[in-house]
């Protein structure tokens, strides 16, 4: 009995197992190949592709791994595999794949070639942490996976050590991170104290009983939310984001802005869905257990996040910093998909994330390629590039327009579905605030275009030619942004097939 259980569990976590093996192989390869490290990136690439294959082959599968056979709730385990999780794992994997390809092109990363083994090993550590974050349904595992991801990312944020900003970024990240995970751990211990268990499913059934102390539970919820909110950089836990994004190597910034945010969101959604939703009605509305007012909390946090993010972005002159604030604002929009507490909202989040992956990574890629050549991420140094480097400028323009959410780009479809979900839930006031935020965001995105095309450069701007591989890489991100803006049926259908979150 126990053996079949173990076998069943292991078969459900094959992607995670493969990732761990790849991580070990990377570390070993780094030791063995200390003279010539050319092979290491390719090993990393293979690791991602292999994990991708295993993840995709899990598509349509669902089940619980590591069930607690001693308990009366024996059918629920520590890890849940379902289509929702596979969707977010795919997001993480696609962004990891792209980040590794970006790293091939990044001059920052070329300069640290002798430590490239550690670089990829740490990235794999992050991916592994994210995978467990996405599928964890046990508070202990949630905490451990978050720590695994965070510790790897603290190091990566300061990895190049070439700039002062770099170590500052790393240290800030570490300090804030330590505080927030401490808070979260406290929250977890309170929940354990209240219910005597760490399994989310069991907590769900226990807090439906009358004897729960609502005040303590609310306190614990807020503490746990603080820990997760830090990962998705929602206000008021966002202070680290601009500094870390600006200081970290650009590949890592891009990775943090997409993959780590995806993992954070997946965790938040799964945590709330499995712990606090009593049932989903046939119309797709989630009915929350009446113990804690998640709706008000998240609406407040969401509005605060997008407004702070957008208004702070207005004053930024560094592209990475601007994109950092923009990614804070996008976290705010994404939270709106959660507050409607319906499958319609979940669809909106999934669509938004697919689109956000393309456009945000695209924007970071172009910023990186420009920085490779002109050695600066300062917006003033972009003056006149629109004329001399048409391909990169047009691509950046398309990514930024998509981030603003104007048709006919995919960003519009993401926003459209969010607003559809909000209007469907009759949350008109919130929708109006979000729309006005979009107008504000136009200003800083368009400002980049202004510098690219409108402002007369003081000195002759350099002409940036893109190599064939770079052109392909940019196009791979840019063409879907246009395509899904005009014909979004496949995107929506895919999102609709990934809605299953295993619950009670």
């Amino acid at each position: 009995m126990a053996n079949t259980n173990l076998y069943h569990s292991l078969s459900l976590i094959t992607p995670e197992i493969f990732l761990s093996v790849a991580l070990v192989v990377l570390v070993l390869a780094d030791l063995v190949l200390h003279k010539d490290k050319k092979l290491i990136p390719y090993i990393a690439l293979l690791g991602i592709i292999g994990t991708g294959y295993l993840t995709i082959s899990q598509f349509g599968m669902s089940g619980f791994a590591f069930q607690n056979s001693a308990s009366m709730f024996s059918s629920y385990g520590m890890i849940t595999v379902d289509s929702f999780g596979i969707f977010f794992k795919s997001i993480v994997l696609i962004s990891s794949l792209l980040i590794i390809l970006f790293s091939f092109q990044s001059e920052e990363i070329q300069k640290i070639n002798d430590r490239i083994g550690e670089y990829y090993a740490l990235i794999f550590g992050m991916i592994l942490g994210m995978f467990f974050m996405i599928s964890a349904t046990d508070l202990i595992l949630i905490y451990l996976s978050m720590e695994l991801m965070s510790l790897s990312s603290y190091v990566l944020a300061g990895f190049t050590k070439l700039r002062d900003r770099n170590s500052e970024a790393s240290l800030k990240y570490l300090l804030y991170g330590a505080v927030s995970s401490g808070l979260m751990l406290f929250g977890i211990s309170l929940v354990y104290g209240l219910t005597g268990t760490t399994n989310l499913y069991i907590i769900n059934s226990l807090i439906q009983g009358p004897q729960i102390n609502l005040f303590t539970l609310a306190f614990a919820c807020i503490l746990i939310f603080a820990g997760i909110g830090y990962k998705i950089s929602s206000a008021p836990f966002h202070f680290w984001t601009p500094d870390v994004y600006e200081g970290a190597p650009i590949t890592i910034t891009a990775f943090l802005s997409v993959a780590s945010k995806a993992a954070g969101f997946a965790l938040l959604i799964r945590f709330i869905k499995t712990t606090f939703v009593s049932y989903v009605d046939p119309n797709g509305w989630w009915h929350l257990i009446n113990v804690f007012d998640w709706k008000t909390l998240i609406i407040a946090v969401s509005i605060l996040t997008m407004t702070l993010g957008n208004f702070s972005a207005l004053w930024q002159n560094n592209m990475k910093r601007m994109l950092a604030y923009s990614s804070i604002a996008h976290a705010g929009y994404l939270l709106l998909g959660l507050v409607v507490f319906s499958n319609q909202g979940l669809i909106a989040i999934l669509i938004y994330f697919s689109v956000y992956l393309l456009m945000n990574l695209g924007a970071f890629l172009v910023v990186m390629l420009i920085a490779n050549r002109i050695g600066s991420e300062d917006i003033d140094d972009y003056n006149g590039l629109g004329i001399t480097s048409p391909f990169l400028s047009v691509s950046l323009a398309i990514f930024l327009i998509s981030l603003t959410g104007l048709p006919p780009t995919a960003g519009f479809i993401g926003k459209l579905y969010l607003f559809i979900a909000l209007v469907d839930a009759k949350m008109i006031a919130v929708a109006v605030i979000a729309l006005l935020n979009t107008v504000v965001s136009l200003y800083y995105y368009i400002r980049v275009l202004k510098h690219l095309y409108l402002v007369k450069p003081v000195k002759e701007p350099v002409a940036i030619t893109t190599s064939f591989s770079n052109t392909v890489l940019v196009s791979v991100l840019m063409l879907p942004v246009i395509f899904f803006g005009i014909y979004f049926e496949p995107l929506v259908n895919f999102a609709k097939s990934c809605l299953l979150i295993l619950g009670l």
Binding site: I347, A431, L442, I446, K450, L454
Partner: protein
């Protein structure tokens, strides 16, 4: 009916042209210009074919069968699990008496603006590529009958317009471009919100008997399609129809531009290059009033009836305020820009009357304002190209120096004032006739007639300051019009005089549809409209 999809062709031909231009080599700017001219010329030909095959007795408005040149097929079709229903968006185009004049206008103005763009020297490829994209967006707005499609085209114009003002504009181009962009986006987010609200409030009956939510404009006009629990459904006692109407109206009003949302217009006009001013005044401003007639009126007839006095009030303010500010201008282009504000006020006033005469006048005024103001901006462009100044007091006595030019200017000015035998006279007369007949807005109409007097004041004063009096010696060597400029002015002049003498040529196109619109708006009962006022 004709054998090819004429509306798709007229809309997407410029986009095709844009791609060809992007592929052309940079070294031959002439080729780019000729290609653009060819494409806009084909558009004019297509518009004439459309007019030749146009059925004058088909109404359109809310009845799909009487729309003409319809193209309809499923664009997005997401079949769903029960709780999500089906998401369907149609690629749905068609024209009726509301949109046909606008399609003709767009084709004509785009052609004229291309001629006027001949003097562009800076990054020619980029300019004409953006110009064609703008052209496609404008055309698409006027032929789309699916709200979603309409919105896509509506937003598609913003970006090219931003760059066209921002790159090829005057000294304060960056400020003007961003101001235009933010203003219009601010308006269009409200349109988006109302669009989503309407989507959830109404359903359309499909062929298989299922009812699904829809963006189809015609389905959204039918009160029977609204479900009782929709937030914008009149059956819902807590509906938000009034607020939605105001939001939608504001979105369109920014484009018109209606006081107090007009402040982007003078900036955009002054900084934009001449051809873009022509497009802006000639076509873009019409989108606001077109949107109100196409969407706000038939989808919210109950609220429209409640608010007609306010619409007329804003029309009056536009007329008087625009004219007064125009009087105070020292910059020729700014003066024309404010005269646009004043003239669009007539359109609002005519629309507010909710009578066939008034709305006929309003649409006719949209067309006439398009041609007349286009000509006025070309006039400013001609003088600015030669002297690089637009100060009204820097000139004097140009009539002897440039007699032909002065002739065209006189025609355009008199048309703008509304002199009989010019097209502007007929449309303004119809507007006043229609509005005066309505008891409710009679006083406002009477005050508005002052606008004609003020209009004559600033126009004649300008004519005097620039063309009469002693010749300013600085301009003693100015050349009169060249062949290209003749080609811009002559067609516009012919149209202005032709429609002044024979207005039925245009009025017949719209009459059936306007009748249908008026009876639809004045009689459609959205059951118990408890919400709202």
């Amino acid at each position: 009916m004709i054998g090819f999809p004429i509306l798709s062709l007229i809309t997407f031909l410029p986009i095709l042209g844009m791609f060809i231009i992007l592929a052309l080599p940079k070294e031959q700017p002439k080729n780019v210009k000729y290609l653009t001219l060819a494409i806009t010329a084909i558009q004019v030909v297509l518009a004439i074919i459309l007019l030749a095959n146009y059925n004058y007795s088909a109404a359109g408005i809310y009845d799909e069968k009487s729309f003409q040149f319809i193209e309809k097929f499923r664009w997005i079709n997401i079949t769903g699990i029960s709780w999500l229903g089906t998401v369907k968006i149609d690629y749905f185009m068609g024209v009726d008496g509301l949109s046909t004049p606008m399609v003709l206008l767009t084709a004509l103005i785009s052609f004229i603006a291309t001629l006027s763009s001949w003097t562009i020297e800076k990054s020619v490829k980029g300019y004409f590529a953006l110009f064609l994209l703008l052209d496609a967006g404008m055309m698409g707005v006027f032929v789309a009958l699916d709200f979603f499609l309409f919105y896509i085209f509506w937003e598609l114009m913003l970006l090219p317009m931003y760059f066209l003002i921002g790159i090829w504009g005057g000294p304060r181009k960056e400020y003007a471009a961003i101001k235009f962009f933010i203003y219009t986006l601010f308006g269009s987010v409200f349109i988006l919100l109302v669009m989503i609200g309407l989507y959830f409030s109404a359903t359309e009956l499909m062929q298989d008997g299922a009812r699904v939510h829809t963006f189809n404009m015609l389905a959204l006009m039918n009160p029977a399609n609204y479900s009782p629990d929709g937030i914008l459904s009149a059956l819902n006692p807590n509906n938000l129809r009034l607020i939605a109407y105001i939001a939608l109206f504001a979105g369109f009003a920014i484009k018109i531009p209606m006081f107090p949302f007009h402040t982007w217009l003078p900036d955009a006009h002054v900084e934009a290059p001449t051809p873009i001013s022509v497009i802006l005044a000639g076509v873009l401003l019409k989108m606001g009033t077109y949107g109100i007639l196409r969407i706000s009126y038939p989808m919210f007839p109950d609220i429209t009836r409640q608010l007609m006095w306010y619409i007329a009030l804003f029309g009056m303010i536009n007329i008087i305020y625009g004219a007064l500010v125009a009087l105070a201008q020292k910059d020729f282009k700014k003066l024309i820009a404010y005269s646009s504000v004043s003239h669009m006020g007539y359109v609002l006033l005519g629309m507010a009357s909710l009578t066939t005469v008034g709305i006929n006048g309003a649409i006719f005024q949209m067309f006439n304002h398009g041609t007349i103001t286009a000509m006025l901006f070309l006039i400013v462009g001609v003088i600015y190209d030669r002297t690089h100044t637009r100060g009204l007091n820097d000139f004097g006595g140009l009539a002897t120096q440039m007699p032909v030019y002065t002739g065209f200017v006189t025609v355009a000015f008199f048309a703008a004032i509304g002199l009989p035998s010019m097209s502007g006279f007929v449309s303004e007369a119809l507007v006043f006739l229609g509005a005066f007949g309505v008891e409710l807005i009679r006083v406002l109409t009477m005050i508005s007639t002052l606008g004609i007097l003020l209009g004559a004041g600033y126009m004649l004063w300008t004519l005097q300051r620039i063309f009469f009096g002693p010749l300013n010696e600085k301009w003693a060597s100015l050349k009169d019009l060249d062949g290209r400029e003749y080609a811009m002015f002559i067609p516009l002049t012919i149209i202005i005089i032709f429609l002044g003498v024979y207005p039925s040529g245009m009025l017949n196109i719209m009459n059936t549809s306007v009748n249908s619109l008026v009876s639809f708006v004045t009689t459609t009962i959205h059951s118990t409209s408890l919400g709202g006022l």
